[in-house]
């Protein structure tokens, strides 16, 4: 019985992080494009396209972290302490990014705004790169001792595969964010953004193809699960179709459907990672017996059950008012006296 709960929480964590990637992903993408527009009014439009929602989007990460702590404390402990420098830099990026949005338009001086614009840009790229490198290390596997402590050292975290996934993540979020902006803008800016969507799709597809080749070559533990259960190959195919569908929808000016395709491909990419890892969460590349799995790293069945009840009560309400907020701020960005 309790084994089912372990699987449930593996899936729920996946949903939380997928929610985070979809939502904060376009925030990061907007930040990456921020310096490409020069005009102050246009930059404010970009900022305000995510203005009311970016803060709530980041809560998905906080809740995901809390849920990981509660459901798989050994994973939380090993990852956060093992990836210490990565998480510290991520905090730096997230904090500066957040306060840049908050501070930027509070003063009219040009130097002030340029300073925070630059911070917003760097913070967005750095956060995406680090989150991607984190995912890359998860896919590649890390060195763990028998207590589950990370023993790989700092430089191993910056291995080429992890960096490649990091850059792919930057490309993914750039594409995702530019599609989001196309949905939220009008006129001349909208037309320019439409061009950037095409460029970022090409950038992403190159990265994606390279990452796929590297995964097939170097991460045999990830692909073995799909070899064992060929049915999962459908996810990979659907992912390809979703990505291919994005330029098609953009061409036909169906921006929202392009955005949905982009969301779907984020979910599919994370699903492939989750399928490849299952039932491991942290794969010990040095000695697979040291891996942290959904069974040996989890909380007790009682706690997992309580967490299920908490999630069942809480998440429907969260989804309801989050949907309401998105609905309220739907459509093209409108500036008013309360905008950033």
């Amino acid at each position: 019985m309790h084994h089912e709960l372990n699987v449930v929480w593996f899936v729920l964590l996946g949903i939380l992080f997928a929610g985070y990637a979809i939502l904060d992903g376009f925030d990061f993408g907007v930040g990456m494009l921020h310096l490409l527009v020069k005009d102050d009014a246009e930059r404010r439009l970009l900022l305000n396209s995510i203005g009311p929602v970016w803060d709530g989007n980041e809560v998905w990460l906080v809740t995901g972290g809390g849920a990981m702590f509660a459901a798989f404390p050994n994973v939380y402990a090993s990852l956060f302490s093992g990836f210490y420098p990565v998480f510290m830099l991520l905090l730096l990026a997230l904090i500066f990014r957040g306060v840049s949005i908050e501070f930027r338009s509070r003063e009219p001086m040009r130097w002030w705004r340029n300073l925070w614009d630059t911070n917003f840009f760097i913070g967005s790229i750095l956060a995406a790169l680090l989150l991607g490198a984190f995912a890359g290390n998860m896919a590649y596997g890390v060195a763990l001792n028998s207590h589950g402590n990370y023993i790989g050292g700092f430089w191993a975290l910056l291995n080429p595969y992890a960096l490649l996934v990091g850059i792919t993540t930057v490309a993914l979020f750039m594409m995702h964010g530019s599609i989001y902006l196309v949905m939220k803008t009008e006129g001349d800016l909208h037309d320019r953004l439409r061009g950037w969507v095409n460029n970022s799709i090409i950038f992403f597809i190159i990265c994606y193809a390279t990452t796929t080749m590297a995964t097939l070559l170097y991460d045999r533990h990830l692909t073995s699960e799909i070899r064992k259960h060929p049915v999962f190959f459908i996810v990979a195919i659907l992912n390809m179709l979703a990505i291919a569908n994005i330029p098609r929808e953009i061409f036909h000016k169906r921006d929202f459907r392009a955005f949905l395709s982009s969301c779907f491909s984020i979910v599919a990419l994370l699903s492939l990672l989750a399928i490849g890892l299952f039932p491991n969460i942290v794969y010990a590349r040095n000695n697979p017996a040291n891996s942290l799995t959904i069974y040996n790293a989890s909380s007790s069945p009682y706690t997992l059950k309580i967490m299920c009840i908490i999630a069942l009560i809480g998440m429907p309400i969260v989804l309801a008012y989050t949907t309401y907020v998105y609905w309220l701020f739907r459509g093209k960005v409108r500036m008013d006296g309360h905008s950033y």
Partner: protein, 459 residues
């Protein structure tokens, strides 16, 4: 210094800085609900301008609270991995609940609060303000559950998991309502209310003194004074409850509060003093039997002293004594000045007492400082334990993090927080100087074609 000590320094630094902001947000949330309710009831525009002005200030404190709060959630794992493994089964659930029940609620409705003035009706906006206030209170609730469990663990048992001992929940409600949860929650929330009330009081008094936005300022002062006096007096009662609770469940901490050493003797109290742990002396005035009386209403009743515990299991006495006494002294001062304010208000001369208004202006630091000192007393007073009586702080640290890494991150946080703190004060001051009426016009004028949404931008 090693990873352990550096991690303690880092946690102390990051939590102290973080804890400047959430109490302000919680307190301001209550104030904003009151202001908007008054606006809906009276339709007096000044209340609307109050709500709008304080919402802007709230956005600033909330933003910094979130930014510095993510750090806290990461730090359990990054610096205290063995702690996380040991308590994750118990401790993770309140943290996850905080995300699900509090953070989502706050950030979701904050969007409507800040950007929705012209998109939703006044009632929906008011509802959103209430939800944001509830969110901030729920956040205090869940983090208090987690922290109180570390003070007075309950509802768990110790189990071998993969050959390592860890705590597992046996009864969720006993974890949530462990012996100190409610007393500490009330104390924290009242502290937060005082933070918000004294901020509003301070700014209101400043406007009255400077003869700017006087109607606005007077109403802020009056509204804040009511909440301040209620909060300050209630905090005294809550403090008494907490001292009794600490005496019952964490006797070493209570003994350190008052520098009481004899293992089992009636205990006195000092209004102030200096503790020398070596000679076991408190230098300063002492009221004999006072602590015994406060605890048991009997000046002769024995109170467990520090000698009851082996030296290795005692908290550092003088720092705990000093921070606790400073907190109490500030609390008393807050009661005094808020009562004086009410008295002169009743006499009808409040706004002529410029000396008192100046005290109100600076009083904003009082609750903030008391919150920090109270936290310091509670956490340092718990040492050497991280989970009282179960796990020591020295056993909790991450085994795979190098001291150099922690040192680097301390420097990073140090620089970052000095910068953020300065910017916060700068922007806060700017907003206060600009004042309520101008608050909406801070933004540079927006070209009409952008407002209408036709994208002809003058690039």
């Amino acid at each position: 210094m090693n990873t352990l000590w550096l991690s303690r320094v880092q946690f102390g630094l990051t939590i102290s800085f973080h804890y400047l902001f959430p109490p302000l947000s919680i307190g301001l949330g209550v104030m904003m609900v009151t202001m908007e309710a008054m606006y809906l009831k009276t339709r007096n525009k000044v209340y609307e301008s109050m709500a709008r002005f304080w919402t802007k200030i709230f956005a600033l404190t909330f933003g910094l609270g979130v930014a510095t709060g993510i750090v806290m959630e990461f730090e359990f794992g990054t610096n205290w991995a063995n702690y996380s493994r040991f308590v994750g089964d118990v401790f993770g659930a309140p943290l996850a609940s905080e995300g699900i029940f509090a953070f989502f609620l706050e950030s979701g409705f904050l969007a409507i609060l800040l950007f929705g003035w012209d998109r939703v009706g006044p009632k929906t906006h008011f509802f959103s303000t209430i939800m944001v206030a509830f969110g901030s209170i729920f956040s205090a609730l869940w983090i208090n559950v987690a922290n109180s469990w570390m003070q007075t663990p309950a509802g768990f048992h110790l189990v071998l998991h993969n050959g390592v001992l860890r705590a597992q929940i046996t009864n969720f409600w006993q974890v949530v309502f462990n012996p100190s949860t409610m007393d500490r929650l009330v104390h924290v929330l009242l502290g937060a209310l005082l933070s918000g009330a004294f901020l509003v009081l301070s700014v209101g008094a400043y406007y009255v003194l400077k003869r700017r936005h006087e109607d606005f300022g007077r109403r802020c002062v009056k509204m804040a004074l009511i909440l301040a006096v209620v909060g300050a007096v209630a905090q005294l009662v809550s403090g008494d409850f907490n001292a009794k609770m600490v005496g019952k469940y964490q006797p070493a901490k209570l003994a350190a509060f008052e520098g009481h050493f004899p293992a089992d003797a009636p205990a006195g109290m000092s209004p102030f003093g200096w503790v020398d742990s070596k000679t076991q002396t408190v230098y300063g005035p002492r009221i004999p039997g006072m602590l015994s009386w406060l605890m048991y209403y009997n000046t002769k009743a024995p109170v467990i002293g520090l000698d009851h515990f082996p030296p290795a299991l005692r908290p550092p006495v003088n720092p705990v004594f000093q921070s606790y006494h400073a907190m109490v002294a500030i609390g008393m001062a807050l009661i005094l000045i808020s009562l004086l304010g009410i008295f002169y208000w009743w006499r009808g001369t409040l706004f002529q007492k410029r000396w008192l208004l100046w005290i109100f202006v600076v009083s904003v630091v009082g609750p903030e400082l008391a919150n920090e000192l109270g936290w310091f007393s509670a956490e340092v007073g718990r040492q050497p334990w991280i989970v009282y009586g179960i796990m020591k702080t020295s056993q909790a640290v991450s085994p795979d993090v190098a001291a150099g890494e922690v040192l680097a991150s301390i420097i990073m946080f140090g620089i970052m927080y000095v910068l953020l703190g300065s910017l916060f004060i700068f922007l806060m001051n700017r907003k206060i100087q600009q004042g309520p009426e101008e608050a909406a016009a801070v933004q540079p004028p927006i070209p009409p074609h952008v407002v209408e949404g036709h994208g002809r931008l003058n690039a």
